[in-house]
Homo-oligomer: 370 residues x 2
DNA sequence: GCACTTTGGCAACAGCGTTGCTTAAGTGGA
DNA sequence: TCCACTTAAGCAACGCTGTTGCCAAAGTGC
């Protein structure tokens, strides 16, 4: 009669409750942005009483995380006081380690980048060398805001990895990273907390927090390969082994052409082959088929496309993917009302999303310890 | 700068905290089953202090939900007192409304069925008639435990529906159910809370709570059609419109044979066509391809097969699906360590899972209001 | 039989959000 | 100009949560 998943350590005591409600208020403050939000609106959004919100915001103001920001027009009584997040109270570093380059960004609490560094990087170099470069980037960026606390470092890398213990599994073509404990190593060098995740997950997180519209969505990244980042229930879905988002090697054509992975008819192979022979319409249609499958399976609200190959002709891909999804919806299948957009911004969203790995827990979102 | 998903009413006050911790303890008690669990083990499992657990369990005992159940062998000091859930303190009704039959089950808190009813049902009959039959079944079952409270009625139905407001969308072939507010109607007739969900989701919930092993998994139901129920992060993933689990009409063969849905190369069409022509190996292989796609995309731990078609030759399907997943894993793809099993038990798991829709919130699992 | 270990309850406590009330700060009609 | 009214937000008391410190209960083992 045993069986159900054991939930470890989910008990809530008073400090945990206090922290939870504070993160909730911070999340609403962040969502409100520069416009700010009143205490009563916070009360409505959290379900707490106005008095509880007053106490919580008083503590946040004491900590320098929130400030008053003027008054609302009166509606016949005392006007509401608007509160606003203080974005530059704390910062986080985001690191994108790619095969051929390193992008590092310092972002404030609102997720806005305040300093960016890019440098060439050889992922094939010894780990010590790469680590030193990464640590240098973190140090340089931290110097941009010398007197403000940096909460931690988020790192986005291409290959499979374990988000929980921060260990790389294997980065295709670079065997020296097999089982490398990147989180621990970088944490020791920088003296900061480090969080690790896949590049597609980081991009998806950035889109979930900074982008337009809420809801569940999939980020499909088409570059040298094809991968996905999934946001379900407002949080990045990683799976037990951080393996979720394996999208490129989904079989889309039974017994189709051979793929580099050894399989047949993989979306990635079909899509990139079509692209290679100049048939962008077919590439977009194939991608759309895969996207439509995903939309139906997970009942998501939108699909966001990104990556260099998409960037080369955004319109064609958006139109092609949208056409497939709409055709299926018109037949009575899933996908009605699903929007298809592009991420834009090149590779920088990945670094910013990496920083969000650190910021997410501050606002009660799942970053670490999914 | 707006954007992040607005979380409504997530604030936690003291009653909510109390309830949360109590459900946590209840969940551990249920997981322990007849073996029971000691206070200190509960403390370890929840992260609460032993004293807090003592207070919580005292309340549960006062409410008749838990009792002492002997002592553990001493380890050199006072022996631990074992606590056990009282399964027959409360009950729930599960209802499975299928196209041609109705299965109703009364389960105790441990999820064990204590009474079962089956009856023919014509889903094409007027709604009032079907409703009356359903309400009768609920009343008859409740009479089996006349002096114990029945917490509510969980209802599993085949078609698309909205889990949140309990409204059916359309049950293929039975237009009179379009937009029918089944939850409200049945709640009024029975005087009990009613929760509605898809049959595949109910089956998945039953497997998640009663089955062997935890972790994320997919339940694939192959009967007259092909559908899926997904359990991610220990909870049923429904999506915003309760549409998740649309698996049968995933495209698996680009421009393949026409499917009844109007699409081409759908898994369901390929699989059932192979089955129809007696090629069960191919049917299992096709199902395995779809399952492998899903395993990779979501990084799940196991695949559970069910439904009449699978039941006709469980071995062939398990072996076929397992072979595809293992082949992909052996190539370095996703799926290493994934187990493939059958649900067994025919259709009764669906009704039991429906009852779990009601029980899940008692144990802090998501049943209502995903 | 006694020292030791371990469990679990009792009582006092700090701190959470809530409630009841008061004060602050506006609007708008007479 | 005044005053009644409305709305926002703080103060103080309160109930209840889990926590802490302490002690009794109930075993083991030399």
């Amino acid at each position: 009669m045993n069986g159900s998943r054991t939930r470890t350590q989910a008990g809530v005591n008073l400090p945990a409750l206090r922290h939870h409600n504070a993160t909730l208020v911070l999340d609403l403050l962040r969502a409100a942005g520069a416009d700010g939000i009143s205490r009563l609106e916070l009360a409505e959004g959290t379900g707490l009483t106005p008095q509880a919100v007053s106490k919580i915001t008083a503590r946040l103001r004491e900590d320098g995380l929130a400030v008053g920001a003027g008054l609302r027009p009166s509606t016949g009584g005392k006007p509401r006081t608007v509160l606003r997040l203080v974005p530059d109270a704390q910062f986080a570093v985001g690191l994108h380690l790619d095969r051929d380059g390193l992008t590092a960004v310092l972002v404030d609490l609102a997720g806005r980048p305040v300093a960016v560094t890019t440098a060439p990087l050889d992922l094939g170099a010894p780990a010590e060398q790469v680590l030193a470069d990464a640590a240098d980037a973190v140090r340089d960026l931290s110097a941009a805001e010398p007197h403000k606390p940096v909460l931690g470092v988020g790192v986005a890398v291409p290959g499979p990895l374990d988000h929980r213990d921060g260990v790389l599994h294997r980065v295709t073509g670079f065997p020296q990273w097999d089982g490398y404990p990147l989180r621990a190593a970088l944490a020791e060098r920088t003296g900061l907390p480090v969080v690790l995740d896949k590049d597609t997950n980081a991009a998806a997180l950035a889109l979930a927090l900074g982008g337009a519209g809420g809801g569940d969505f999939a980020y499909l990244h088409l570059g040298t390969g094809l991968g996905a980042g999934l946001v379900l229930g407002g949080e990045v879905h990683r799976g037990a082994r951080t393996g979720a988002g394996e999208f490129g090697h989904q079989t889309l054509q039974l017994d189709g052409p051979l793929c580099g992975c050894g399989g047949r008819g993989c979306i990635e192979a079909l899509c990139l082959a079509a692209e290679a022979r100049g048939d962008r319409g077919e590439a977009a249609r194939v991608l759309g088929m895969g996207a439509a499958n995903l939309v139906g399976l997970l009942d998501i609200d939108r699909v966001v496309l990104g990556g260099r190959t998409v960037a080369a002709d955004e319109d064609a891909y958006v139109r092609g993917v949208r056409a497939v999804i709409e055709e299926r919806a018109a037949r009575g299948g899933a996908g009605a009302g699903v929007t298809v957009t592009v991420a834009g911004g090149g590779d920088r969203p990945v670094a910013e999303g990496a920083a969000q790995l650190v910021l997410a827990p501050v606002f009660g979102r799942v970053g670490e310890r999914g």
